[in-house]
Amino acid sequence: MSQPLKCSLCEEAATVHLSQVVHGKVTKVHLCEACAQKGGAMDPAVFQLADALTTASPAPTLICPQCGFTDIDFRKRGRLGCPSCWETFGDVLGGLLRKVQHEPSHVGRTPAGASPVGRLRRRLDDARREMEKAITGEDYEVAARLRDEIAVIEQQLATS
């Protein structure tokens, strides 16, 4: 977790985050509530924006570069915008998947014509883990079998 942002004008924690486009450049300002209100008295534009932000829903923190879908949209709809959203919102979705799904990673079919590389890599990870476990448990017969399987998978990955 990153440190909470501090107000640009005082040392208080910033709760209002403004992005303004000034001369074609995006400027970000972080303010505590008090400074945002004070600053607003001098600058009506900031005042309106700050006012809106403190009363309306929070600004999105994640936006899918492919389709423009945001984390706020996801909260509203419970559905994603496009296949790329799965990458953009990976961290947000990880917790949800652990709750509603059996395991957070896929173990089923791949599309016809898709390379089996992913599946091999996953099996390699699993086999390595299982081998370590077998060694710890002094089950050398299983460990030897896994060692051979790992060698075969590494060979397949090297040539694919």
Binding site: H106, V107, G108
Partner: protein
Amino acid sequence: MSVEDILAAENELTHLLGAQQAVVLSTRIRLARNLEGLPFPGWAKIPQRKEIADQCVGALEALPKFRRAHVVRMSELGDRDRAVLVERHLVSKELAAGKSGAAVISRDQTCSVMVNEEDHLRIQVVKAGWHLRGTWHIAEQLDDALGGSLKLAFSDRLGFLTACPTNVGTGLRASAMVHLPGLCLAGHMDKVSRALNQDGLAVRGWLGEGTEAAGNVFQISNQQTLGLSEEAILKHLGGWIKNVVEQEWNARRKLAQEEGEKFVDRLSRSLGLLRSARLLTSSEAMNMLSHLRLACDMGCLPEERRHLVDRLMIEGQPAHVQARAGQELDSDGRDRRRAAVVREALKDFPDLVPPSA
């Protein structure tokens, strides 16, 4: 337009004599798939949804399985025709409610692919009776064929990418439509539902999510799609269905034994009522047809009559009644028409005999 053709055609669920089985009405497999690089239908703009529909429908029409298929676009259908497709489970309520959805339905109506529903593609395969492997095999072949011609959204880590996190991974929803009058009459259905829920299976009514179980018909399906292989999902569902079917038979036998003559009397009354009613509501018809199906399963009526009961369950639904009549009907008009259709269909049904099962 081909909804009339769909209604008129002899098909798997309503006509296939001999394929119907006791307890399990049908087996269904659904796969959710999406195209790479295009927004999901719920977030796509109208031109993008059109592009999705064109790509998907084009790819589907090229497959041998969909030779001479019915291609129906929701924007071209009236309310009644869309409702008919929903009642047949060929499309979902969600697809029927939108304008940019389409469905490609195979001639025998065993395969239907919804385009632009929640996902770009929803492949569905249905078979009368309990045929989990056979149904899965057809879906698998269709999936492979589509994956060969379309670039599907897939990630090594998460599998097939879908609009909703509850479908990601395999995108597989396997289900059985089961008729459980024994468990319902014995008052055990709540207990069974709870046990299924606790082990990752969903229990729904006749028309899926949020519908009531008219006619003691329930849909049982897997809930989880990620972290389990297709094989594991099918095995899990298969094991439970076998268990539920067994419990249903136990409940039926116990009921028949304990109630004796009252058991046959109850089912006979339903036949009598269906044969002479002049006005029949849809839920009334479903509940009494459920008794006739039970009578066929228990040997009180000849087994070969079962397919006719199944057909009436489907064709007694409101949109079907109106489509058959060829006109819009008010509620009384539908009830009158439904009663007439049922009376006609059951007029040469024999009287019930004591159970043999």
